[in-house]
């Protein structure tokens, strides 16, 4: 190689970045800009019928569309239940597993199995379990525990159809937060907990006053990731309820997807995408602003 080290220093980074940059610009940045443009059009896929610029009409329509209200409300409910649900149960599991001497890896592995199973498979599995009248959940409720006299039509009623979706969201996610909390707990020096015990703190006080503040940044990290994940709920809704009955269980992304690929209203779908993206980005920025302090403890 006759090229001097200095010349290399200038050229090499660009050569190494080039393949990533091409793919990134073509498949992500360009679609992001193009999608923004589409959201202002009555977008046509027919070569004979041109797309027409309609300004903010798609966005105005979104604010007047009752199903959009339902979809965003369902997305919010899903997030507000699954995020604390996952975090609390994951913390409980992590603290218990951290404190046992035998079977740590065994339990960690079992709790993590739902995480590595694909959303498609577990969604179908939950649809099967929540079938009515003969699904397994109904069998347990009616015949084994006698909680309800009659089978519940989980997926047939708007009031109950989100329950399998939310249950799946919590069940599948516990292992992910748990393994992150376990790593955080393992990084706390033993002496700290022992000192608190000697001072007479019980398990709960010790957790609340000593452990939790120490792993605060980790908890905030999982909170941010899970909130973003919650707003992105799609596959489970698409495969378990598909938005039904009567579009009552649509979430933001399932409604967007139906508008695009069932109703072929691409402009409207694009505007719904950007509304959701705006919610996610605003939420993330707010979190960064308000949750900065606990992060700095570490």
């Amino acid at each position: 190689m006759a090229i001097s080290t200095n010349t290399q220093k200038k050229i090499i980074p660009y050569l190494f970045l080039a393949p990533a940059a091409v793919l990134f610009l073509l498949f992500l940045v360009y679609p992001l800009l193009k999608g923004f443009q589409i959201s202002f059009y009555n977008w046509s896929i027919m070569p004979t019928k041109p797309s027409t610029f309609i300004g903010l009409d798609n966005y105005v329509k979104a604010f007047q569309d009752q199903v959009v209200g339902t979809a965003f409300k369902n997305t919010l409910i899903y997030t507000l239940i699954t995020v604390p649900g996952q975090m609390i149960l994951a913390m409980l599991a992590a603290v218990m597993i951290h404190n046992i001497t035998r079977g740590k890896i065994f339990f960690r592995t079992l709790y993590y199995i739902p995480v590595i199973t694909s959303w498609v498979i577990v969604s179908l599995l939950f649809r099967y379990l929540f079938q009515s009248p003969e699904g397994l959940i109904n069998y347990f409720l009616v015949e084994v525990f006698h909680i309800t006299p009659d089978p519940v039509g989980w997926l047939q009623q708007a009031g109950t159809a989100m329950i399998p979706v939310i249950g799946l969201g919590i069940w599948k996610g516990i292992g992910w937060s748990m393994i992150i909390y376990l790593a955080a707990l393992a990084s706390i020096p033993h002496e700290i907990g022992e000192a608190a015990s000697i001072d007479g703190a019980n398990t709960w006080q010790r957790f609340w006053a000593v452990t939790l503040p120490l792993i605060g940044p980790t908890v905030v990290f999982t909170l941010v990731m899970l909130l973003i994940g919650g707003f992105n709920v799609f596959i489970s809704v698409y495969l378990i309820t598909n938005g039904g009955p009567m579009q009552q269980t649509e979430v933001a992304l399932s409604y967007m997807y139906h508008q695009a690929f069932d109703f072929i209203d691409f402009g409207y779908a694009a505007s719904l995408s950007f509304l959701l993206a705006a919610v996610i980005v605003t939420g993330s920025l707010l979190q960064m602003k308000f949750l900065r302090r606990p992060v700095e403890i570490s």
Partner: protein, 278 residues
Amino acid sequence: MRLRPRIFKKSPVYVALIAGALVMIFPFIWMISSSLKPNLYVIEYPPQLIPSNPSLENFLEAWNANNFQQYFRNSAFVAITSTLLSVTISAMAAYAFARFKFPGQETTFYVLLGVLMVPNIIVIVPQFFLMKFLGLRNSLWGLVLIYTATSLSLNTFLLRGFFEQLPHELEEAVLIDGGSYLTIFANVILPLSTPALATVSIFSFMGFWDEFVMALTFIDDPAKRTLPIAIALFQGQHGTQWGLVFAASLIALIPIFIFFFGLQKYFVGGLTTGAFKG
């Protein structure tokens, strides 16, 4: 012998952990049990955990039905090729970010990170038009390219973090010996980063193997379907033949479980370094 009182003291904890583990595992046990029940056209009631006539009929039928083997090969091709491409390209980009100074470096990196915050499905509509325009709809290579593109942010971010921690001394030695930066990348950075590359590869592979939304949107040709699409449609076509659906699902899970149980140390390492989300 000293262990005994401690175990007694901990027994409520074990009871709770076992109860939790049952909740986590029972749906899978049920899936396996259903897949072993032959010809489950009508859902049996009351449900039986242990099949009365267990058989592998469903597995044979699923494996031989509806191009299933083709779908398995499609998934394998897409997942393996995308993983190789993504890890190679991400490692190159991460090397540029970790070891060089160039104008626009920080801005570029923040753009990369910003994309991590917004999910890919947000741009599914324009991507659909792009794939059509590029002639990449109904193409497995099309899936490979877009899978690779969508995984670059995270993989580059993680590998950059790892590369930055590597000592600089070895590189200087290579340069003094007349080697180039390419030599450093190939002979120093990559060999030293095997654990990080393994972690990133495993998580990428699993993500690609399971990917649903893009495959659903960009592939219409039945011969080009991947397993997640095939399984979701299987359920649609075969209605209540759940035994068949679960047999197909379990076959699709085999590679994931091999990775998971075979390479656990990379899993835990990958998760605790940060951002992998199931």
